[in-house]
């Protein structure tokens, strides 16, 4: 029986991260070895009952193959994430993963520019880790509602890596949406840039426009409500452009299996946030 996507994982560390956010470190050697930035795991919530019923998808925020661990960064949203944050060291979880398609590697000419909105930083953190390991310099733009939502800012090499922050309340960095400093930066930047982004839909929509305008390539990581997480239920639809033009009608891809990372020009984001 093939079960390589099913894992029992052990909590190694659990702690609050920053305002309303939580950190879990999990012992999961196979996952740590197999995971690629942008992929996620689908977690069965602890407990015996059938309520809450569905698994919860969370991005892999870092992987340490040598130690056999992975990290999760998540925002306390509702019942499921609250239950995960209550877990103690040594407790067991069941998860499926690594799932989905991750980010594609930048070409030799492309300079990576990572744009995170709030807890959307999670999958980008893993990408940042991978770039740092390969000693590839990058730009990191991170927006949040206020200064107390950021964490691990010391984890950047200030000599090689440009870190730009923005907050809605102006408590640190640029006062306003993070897409503004991204745009200013691109205005003055020569050469190929590849933007990697994860965050709220309005931010992603701005980035679609900005990438198009400045000729940057763009990969975005999306969220949608999920049931199966493996491509079978068609619950996690995102509207995409049809491959062939004569088929002008609506066409949907599965965020869990065709994504969660998509090419920026490929998806049609709706004005209403999906979830």
């Amino acid at each position: 029986m093939k079960t390589s996507l099913c894992h029992n994982i052990v909590i190694v560390d659990s702690k609050p991260l920053a305002r309303g956010q939580h950190f879990l470190s999990l012992k999961a050697p196979e996952l740590a070895a197999a995971a690629r930035p942008g992929q996620f795991i689908h977690i069965r919530l602890p407990g015996e009952g059938m309520d809450p019923f569905l698994r919860r998808p969370l991005s892999i925020a870092a992987a340490f193959p040598a130690q056999g661990t992975i990290l999760l960064f998540f925002r306390l949203t509702g019942r499921g994430t609250a239950a995960l944050a209550r877990l103690q060291k040594g407790q067991l979880l069941h998860c499926l993963g690594p799932l989905g398609k991750g980010y594609s590697w930048p070409s030799a000419k492309q300079k990576p520019l990572l744009v995170a909105g709030g807890i959307g930083v999670a999958p980008l953190w893993f990408l940042k880790q991978a770039l740092q390991r390969k000693k590839i310099p990058f730009y990191f733009f991170w927006g949040a509602s206020s200064v107390d939502h950021f964490f691990y800012l010391h984890d950047f090499n200030s000599k090689k890596e440009l870190l730009v922050l923005a907050t809605d309340d102006g408590s640190v960095g640029y006062h306003g949406p993070i897409t503004k400093p991204v745009e200013l930066f691109l205005q003055n930047k020569q050469g190929d840039v590849k933007i990697y982004a994860c965050g709220p839909v309005p931010m992603l929509k701005s980035l679609q426009r900005i990438a198009l305008h400045y000729g940057a390539s763009l990969e975005i990581s999306l969220e949608e409500r999920m049931a199966c997480g493996i491509g079978a239920c068609l619950g996690c639809a995102v509207r995409v452009k049809a491959a062939d033009d004569h088929q002008s009608s609506c066409h949907y891809s599965r965020v869990c299996a065709d994504g969660p990372v998509f090419k920026g020009e490929e998806v049609i984001l709706s004005d209403e946030p999906g979830s």
Partner: protein, 303 residues
């Protein structure tokens, strides 16, 4: 000797546990979790004559012990199914049941005619119970006369075992069951999802674009068991029971209420290995209790 084999009229299954329509796509995804040979049968996602893009998101919301879905029959259409999905399904080696949905009788007929030449389907399941599309489908299932008409017409041109999937909505399910039986259905499957709704209190609007969606999962199980119970008394043809089955004990409830076989839907989302573990559990139970076949338990709770 214990054998898990069951016969549903003209349809034989190696074991009584099938994958329910729309929760197992066309099998591929679950094949990376277990050998699909372990399935009693695989019911495909609902197939329509032409490709259907499905409903705009959101399509899923979790509810107490279950979920509401508004997928809207997204599927590649008859042609896409035959070309891209059937070849994979054929090589699994278990009965493949095509679940079909139409807006008119003619569409159902065209689907059956299009599917027959493949020669490899074990049965056709008429979906007359999808609550997530605006036309056809449920309107057949919720009206005994339309249902009788539809099933009669399909029966005429369908030499394969014919399953009719009943709806728990808008009709006394036993009435629909009798109509389908009278029109020549070989097997009935029940239940499809229950119509349900969630209001987004921030937007002060229904959560789904189509407002009403389909409820499934453990939350519906007692209702589904009761409907199998009632339908067992109402008709003579075999039943496939489903609705909230998550383990072998749940499956046994349906069998004891009168189902000859069961199907597992939403539980696949929670644990992809649900079906093989239910098959194992039923076998263990039969052995422990000294039964030789699931058939011995079918409807036993009525005695």
């Amino acid at each position: 000797m214990t054998s898990l084999e069951v016969k549903l009229g003209p349809l034989s299954l190696k074991n009584p546990v099938m994958a329910a329509s729309g929760t197992f796509a066309f099998g591929r995804e679950y094949s990376s979790f277990f050998s699909l040979k372990l399935l009693g049968g695989l019911v495909t996602k609902g197939i329509t004559l032409r490709l259907r893009p499905g409903n705009p998101p959101p399509r899923i919301v979790e509810t107490p012990a279950g979920l509401l879905n508004s997928v809207g029959l997204q599927n590649p259409g008859l042609h896409g199914f035959l070309q891209d999905e059937l070849p994979f399904l054929q090589q699994i080696g278990v009965p493949i049941i095509a679940n079909i949905a139409g807006e008119t009788i003619e569409e159902y007929e065209a689907l059956v005619e299009g599917l027959l030449p493949s020669g490899t389907l074990a049965a056709i399941e008429l979906n007359v119970s999808c609550p997530n599309v605006s036309k056809g489908c449920l309107s057949f299932g919720a009206d005994p006369r339309s249902l009788y008409q539809l099933v009669t017409r399909i029966r005429k041109l369908c030499p394969l075992p014919l399953i009719v999937k009943l709806t728990p909505n808008d009709i006394d399910i036993t009435e629909a069951a009798r109509a389908a039986e009278a029109a020549g259905a070989d097997v009935l499957s029940l239940i499809n999802t229950l119509k349900g709704m969630v209001i987004d209190i921030e937007k002060k609007k229904p959560f789904f674009h189509l407002k009403i969606a389909g409820l499934s999962g453990p939350a519906v199980r007692p209702i589904a068991v009761r409907m199998v119970w009632d339908t067992f008394k109402a008709v003579k043809i075999p039943l496939i029971g489903m609705g909230g089955i998550t383990n072998y004990a749940d499956a046994l409830q349906f069998i004891m209420a009168g189902a000859s076989a069961v199907a597992v839907g939403s539980a696949n989302f929670v644990d992809p290995l649900t079906i093989p573990s239910i098959v194992e559990g039923i076998e263990r139970y039969l052995k422990e209790q000294g039964y030789s076949s699931p058939k011995d338990l079918c409807g036993i709770a009525h005695q």
